[in-house]
């Protein structure tokens, strides 16, 4: 790791001010991507602004069907939350399968979506749930938030404070893990809510998370695994690497989507 200046922020305002004043600063949420990257000397921020001690960023609240999760809430807290398990068990299930216990007890939902790793799990859920991303300056719909691989709509220094969504009627997430890293090689989150059916796909697309709109239409008409038989996934938009060709990933999208629909019941 290269030398860096560490700052511990005690409020969102202080964090915003610290990051604005840094030469080439990075916000530290759970650190599960940033710290390993710095250790491998692949990132060398001049300053690290630690968000982990800001109480306002933590916590889960459910009011009626409205679910709000503080950006600093760990995966373990989401996975183990009785409110989430009741309002949206699919999201608790997703969180319970991110990384390993170490990662789940350090990594946060805000950190995950801000990083927008193309193989991260949460982006699929945010898109499928039609979630709203709250920052210290505005609200952004998930559809607009995830721009491309490791790219979001966040401005420099903008801090995610929370995510919110309406609890779906039914939902499920099915992940096909990369055999080596166990990140999602394809993860499909299917949610059926007041606004219809939404299908978020992570791990597979060459431009990061995407919505499978053909599948959404088919499932909107008939929410069953069989309804997907007539849909097809274009492999030209899929990632291709050592572990999975674009054809293989296109196949996985369909298989995982069907399994998610069946799991959602």
């Amino acid at each position: 790791m290269y030398k860096t200046n560490y700052h511990r922020a005690s409020s969102v305002e202080e964090a915003a001010s610290l990051i604005a004043g840094a030469d080439d600063g990075k916000l530290l949420a759970g650190g599960q991507t940033l710290i390993p990257t710095m250790k491998q000397r692949l990132a060398a921020p001049s300053d690290v602004v630690d968000l982990r001690h800001i109480a306002d960023l933590k916590g889960i609240s459910v009011a009626g069907s409205q679910v709000t999760i503080g950006a600093g809430t760990t995966h373990a807290d989401v996975a183990n939350s009785a409110e989430i398990r009741s309002a949206c068990p699919a999201l608790a299930d997703l969180a319970s399968h991110i990384g390993d216990p170490h990662v789940r007890n350090m990594g946060t939902i805000g950190g995950s979506i801000a990083n927008n790793d193309p193989a991260a799990d949460y982006p699929a859920a945010m898109v499928a749930l039609g979630a709203t991303i709250h920052t210290n300056s505005r609200e952004i719909s998930a559809d607009d938030f995830f721009v491309g691989m490791f790219e979001t709509a966040l401005n420099d220094g903008e801090i995610i404070t929370a995510v919110s969504f309406n609890a779906p009627e039914k939902a499920a997430y099915q992940k096909f893990p990369n055999p080596a890293s166990r990140y999602a090689m394809t993860g499909v989150f299917v949610a059926k809510g007041a606004g219809g059916v939404r299908v978020g796909v992570t791990g597979a697309g060459s431009d990061g998370v995407f919505r499978a709109t053909d599948m959404e239409a088919a499932l909107g008409a008939n929410f069953s695994g069989g309804a997907l038989d007539a849909t097809s996934v274009d492999s030209s938009g899929m990632l291709s690497d050592l572990h999975g060709s674009s054809d293989y990933r296109a196949n996985l999208v369909k298989v995982m989507a069907r399994r998610a629909v069946e799991a959602a019941g």
Binding site: R41, F176, P179, A180, S181, L242, H243, G244, S245, Y248, N251, L252, V255
Partner: protein, 780 residues
């Protein structure tokens, strides 16, 4: 035998320190004044070095010195060698390219060491290494063996035209071709044995300490054979004469072969310590382990098996291309030749065998012996072909094998090996029964009802351990003898120290070797200590690899114990006024058979050292040495049966059942043997399903350089393994042992792949059978 003797299932003595974090590894060693090293490594697969600018690195605070290959050459440090000379079939010697410990002139793979930076801290050394500016001129590279041997491929070493190291053969091609011409059926396959990265839990490390006042070097290093390291560094690399070089391999966290070899880093650390006059420690990070540890396997082969009209094998013909990497590592030439082609008879009675093996340089990490070393490659070839033959012939794969088994011993194969003992039918029967082979059809039908493709696969492996006798391996080109030494010291109070040239890095020698002593002398294993891994303590040894520590290392202890017992009996006979022939050693006492006269073991030992009353002319003391050179290799063999279910939608293979029935001869500690089989099978399943080293064919970059991309087997990838043993004793050593360290990794890959290809009905499948590969095989 007693509660702690041969055959006792007792917990390992060494585990307390390992599982409580009290092990002492090379990285735990601290010497006053010690400094830290990082290596500057090539980022290119193939490039000319036009210059090295050290000025920025030398300006980094804490950096003591930056040393390069030219300085190393000026100091007379020798090039790395391959210790086994192979002669091509045209009589020419192998084309061994120069391997400098620090590259001069050219780099030949990503990770090739160019310079060493010594600094006060590791971080400073790392920063210094980043600031060394090497002026590289990139050259075209080649990483694939077939591409490397093709016309017009980039030339890697000047003295290896066309990148070929040797073109070697074993067996009689004339008789084989005649048998093929008259065969009733020929099964032919192209088979790839995938390249693996060893991934020992402890990365390699070296601490070199030159004491200028005494003109003496000490090297702590992660070695499976510290004596061989000293011998080679002294005799070939001119580091120091043997009497001025002490090599210590303390606790070592796994090797699997990758820590047999003497690498550039330990040589350079010793040399750098003299140049800088400070002790120099280097510890590989995980990326360096992936890049620079010797890799394993990487064979491309064609096999033809000829059958007569009664389905008996009449001939086997094999053509193999083996990737050696950028340099010839210590055993690299032996692995694809005498450790491979000599096992191509498998468990079968075959009159005619011919193998042709070409080895090639590529711009990749050196390739050398890895758990099994040649035998897994032979076994995979034979056992996939046998399963394929059974399908083509429409006969049961178990019965085709049984029909061709060797049933009489000793058996001379046409490829050097003389199998000394075995009962292949017994292990096949045991495995088939444990696997409920006859019930498979019903299980397959049940799985089909759940939408799963169920398959079963067999593998009847044989391998060769011990690597012996010295005279024989010498005649085949080995540069060293392959015996083992032991010294048994009985202390004045009767406790015992056993000094062995074997090295334990996970095998449990401190327990099993003590069990042998307990068995022989009737003493508790707590009174027996095993000393190993230090050239100042143990005079000489050949180390641990090839599953040789039991069959060869323990046999040496056994011979030394014979001598201890003989002297002890003489002393006891003298003190008890009995005939020496009537003395028996039992339960920690020397007894006069048929009487109640006894002498406790410790009193006999004390008498040996007080020397107040010894037999006329006897020297005081009780310490005996033996060098054991076995009569032959040993031949562990067995039958593995794997049952899988494949998900046709995703290509995911679930190993439902794995049965291992092995014949290891005499077993000292069944628990440790089972652990060895579990670990070996885990590595074999890893090779079959998960592990595959990949280089980018254009850039020569290592694509699988971390656990993000290199898939190691994890607990949830593995089934519970059904382990059992049958027993025929090896007549080639006094204990009847065969060796169990590699069998699991040798026998399991073909069983897994045979099961998958049975399940999916497509035999065109290459390891690792990843979900993507299996899905493609189902759909393509």
């Amino acid at each position: 035998m007693g509660a702690e003797g041969i055959g006792a299932r007792i917990a390992r003595k060494e585990d307390k320190r390992f599982i409580t974090g009290k092990g002492r590894y090379t990285d735990d060693m601290v010497v006053p004044g010690m400094k830290h090293a990082m290596f500057v490594r090539s980022p290119h697969a193939h490039a000319k070095i036009n210059g090295i600018d050290k000025s920025a690195a030398l300006a980094v605070p804490g950096v003591i010195d930056v040393l390069d290959g030219q300085q190393l050459t000026e100091d007379g440090i020798g090039s790395l060698i391959c210790g086994w000379a192979i002669t091509s079939k045209d009589g020419s010697p192998m084309n061994m390219g120069d391997w400098r410990p620090l590259a001069t002139g050219k780099v030949r793979y990503v990770g090739d060491a160019v310079a060493i930076v010594v600094a006060d801290t590791r971080a400073q050394a790392r920063e210094g290494a980043e600031k060394v500016e090497v002026d590289y001129e990139e050259l075209p590279s080649v990483t694939d063996s077939t591409a490397a041997i093709a016309e017009g491929a980039p030339q890697i070493h000047e003295n290896a035209p066309g990148n070929q190291i040797f073109d070697w053969e074993l067996g009689d091609s004339t008789t084989v071709d005649a048998a093929l011409a008259s065969a009733a059926h020929i099964t032919e396959m192209d088979v790839v044995n995938n390249r693996l990265i060893p991934n020992a839990m402890e990365p390699r490390a070296a601490l070199g300490h030159y004491n200028s006042a005494e003109d003496h070097y000490t090297c702590w290093t992660t070695s499976q054979n510290p004596h061989v390291a000293r011998l080679v560094m002294s005799a070939f690399y001119n580091v120091a004469p043997e009497n001025k070089l002490r090599v210590i391999a303390p606790d070592v966290g796994g090797g699997f072969g990758s820590k047999i070899y003497i690498y550039p880093e330990e040589i350079v650390c010793l040399w750098a310590s003299k140049r800088t006059d400070v002790p120099v420690k280097w510890v590989a990070d995980r990326t360096e382990s992936f890049m620079c540890d010797a890799h394993g396997r990487d064979h491309v082969s064609n096999i033809k098996i000829a059958f007569d009209s009664e389905n008996r094998i009449t001939a086997i013909k094999v053509d193999t291309l083996a990737n050696i990497g950028a340099y010839m590592s210590l055993f690299s030439s032996a692995t694809p030749t005498y450790l491979y082609a000599t096992l191509l008879s498998g468990q079968y009675n075959v009159a005619n065998i011919h193998a042709n093996v070409r080895t090639v340089y590529t711009n990749t990490a050196p390739v050398d012996a890895y758990r099994g070393a040649g035998r897994p490659e032979a076994c995979y070839l034979i056992e996939r072909a046998m399963e394929t033959a059974a399908r083509e012939l429409g006969v049961d794969p178990a019965e085709l094998r049984r029909k061709n088994f060797i049933t009489e011993f000793p058996h001379q194969t046409p490829v050097i090996m003389a199998y000394d003992a075995g009962d292949f039918g017994a292990s096949l029967d045991a495995a088939m029964q444990a696997a409920d082979y006859s019930g498979f059809a019903a299980r397959k039908a049940e799985a089909a009802g759940r939408g799963k493709l169920r398959g079963i696969g067999l593998s009847c492996y044989i391998e060769a351990c011990g690597i012996a006798p010295s005279q024989a391996v010498g005649s085949l080109g080995a540069g060293v003898g392959l015996w083992e030494s032991a010294e048994v010291r009985v202390n004045a109070v009767g406790t015992i120290e056993v000094l062995t040239g074997s090295h334990s890095h996970g095998q449990g020698h401190e327990t099993t070797f003590a069990q042998l002593v307990a068995d022989r002398l009737g003493v508790g294993i707590d009174t027996v200590s095993i000393v190993h891994g230090d050239t100042d303590k143990v005079q000489m040894g050949m180390g641990t690899y090839g599953s040789r520590s039991g069959a060869v290392g323990m046999s040496a202890i056994s011979v030394a114990l014979d001598r201890v017992e003989a002297k002890a009996k003489k002393i006891a006979a003298h003190l008890l006024e009995a005939d020496e022939a009537d003395i028996v050693i039992e339960g920690g006492e020397l007894k006069v058979a048929g009487t109640d006269k006894t002498l406790p073991w410790f009193q006999m030992a004390l008498a040996a050292y007080t020397a107040h009353n010894l037999p006329e002319g006897m020297e005081p003391g009780l310490k005996e040495t033996a060098f054991f050179d076995p009569a032959n290799f040993t031949f562990p063999a067995g039958c593995y049966i794997c049952e899988v279910e494949v998900d046709p939608d995703t290509g995911v293979t679930d190993v439902i059942q794995f049965v291992a029935a092995d014949d290891f001869g005499t077993i000292i500690n069944p628990m440790i043997v089972e652990g060895q089989v579990h670990g070996g099978v885990a590595q074999g399943i890893g090779q079959a399903l998960l592990e595959g080293c990949a280089y980018d064919p254009q850039s020569g970059q290592l694509l699988t350089a971390s656990y993000m991309d290199y898939t190691m087997p994890r607990a949830d990838d593995l089934p519970s393994i059904d382990v059992s043993t049958t027993k025929t004793e090896s007549p080639s050593n006094p204990l009847g042992m065969k060796g169990c360290g590699e069998a699991g990794a040798i026998g399991s890959p073909p069983a897994v792949i045979n099961a998958i290809t049975d399940a999916i009905g497509n035999n065109d499948l290459t390891m690792p059978a990843t979900p993507q590969a299996v899905w493609a095989a189902i759909n393509g």
